[in-house]
């Protein structure tokens, strides 16, 4: 049986901790809206799973294979600290995807319903007016002729 000085360094908890930071880091990346951001939720999930695997391995090595590996205290401390970013990443993943379906919404090729809504200055603006030449629209866009299209952007708002 190897003595204390011969026992191997247990690096798994550090890898686990690093992946936990990576998982939460993915969430921060959304703010800069990088290309391929659609992959970020899954990357975050992958990092979180890898973090769990490495933290688990680290704990198992430190406790079940204590004769081979060091790092009992370290593996526990890193696992506990990593739980915070891991929990947050998991929560964000579930909450961000709690969205109703979009199959009933207007699809490509379909005609959209008309509407009239108040703009930021309280003036009513209709879809017809948005599609008409500017000048009649509420904001001072300098479009001389009618736009080819309008881009309707529905957003969650600031409540």
């Amino acid at each position: 049986m190897p003595d204390a000085t011969q026992r191997g360094k247990n690096t798994a908890p550090w890898w686990g901790f690093l992946f936990a930071l990576g998982a939460i880091g993915c969430n921060i990346l959304f703010f800069v809206s990088p290309p391929l951001q659609g992959a970020l939720p899954w990357l975050s999930l992958l990092f979180a799973l890898l973090a769990l695997v490495f933290l688990g391995t680290g704990l198992r090595r430190a406790f079940a294979q204590a004769h081979v590996y060091r790092g009992k205290v370290l593996s526990v401390v890193l696992a506990v600290i990593a739980l915070f970013p891991l929990g947050l990443s998991g929560f964000a993943f579930v909450k961000a995807r709690e969205l109703p379906g979009s199959t009933a919404a207007p699809q490509v090729g379909q005609k959209v319903p008309d509407f009239t809504l108040a703009d930021a200055s309280g003036q009513p603006v209709s879809l017809d007016r948005l599609l008409a030449p500017a000048g009649s629209a509420s904001t001072s866009q300098s479009q001389a002729q009618a736009p080819k299209a309008v881009l309707l952007i529905f957003y969650r708002g600031y409540w």
Binding site: N27, F30, S33, P35, Q37, G38, L40, P41, A92, A96, R97, E98, L99, P100, S102, A104, A105, P106, Q107, V108, G109, Q110, K111, V112, P113, D114, F115, L117, A118, D119, A120, S121, G122, V125, L127, L130, L131, A134, A137, S138, T139, S140, Q141, S142, Q143, A146, P147, K148, A149, V150, L151, L152, I153, F154, Y155, R156, G157, Y158, W159
Partner: protein
């Protein structure tokens, strides 16, 4: 925004926010496009984009969605995200806009 204008597309934002809130947003972010208010979600419902209880205090809001609608009110391109963190990027919307003839 000038790019959208050059492509002949007028962006329009719609949410449940009151006009005052939209005015603050437009001012802060220097948005020049119309920001419309649908506080009672009538239009959001008409478009089937209601996220019931989606607001932090449990009231109804719009799910994020982008629709490119041509001059005959036909949808030409859509983006319905499945994750509120993943939004359509301006260059994706611009690419769709430029495909219009």
């Amino acid at each position: 925004m000038p790019e959208f204008e050059a492509a002949g597309v007028r962006p329009v934002a719609i949410s449940v926010d009151a006009p005052e809130l939209s005015r603050d947003l437009a001012h802060k972010a220097e948005y020049t496009f119309p920001i419309l208010s649908d506080p009672d979600t009538a239009v959001i419902r008409r478009y089937h984009l209601l996220h019931m209880g989606g607001g932090p205090d449990g009231h109804d809001i719009a799910r994020p969605a982008e629709l490119l609608v041509d001059s005959s009110k036909i949808v030409r391109w859509t983006n319905f995200t499945e994750d509120i963190r993943v939004r359509a990027r301006a260059n994706e919307m611009l690419a769709a806009a430029k495909q219009l003839r």
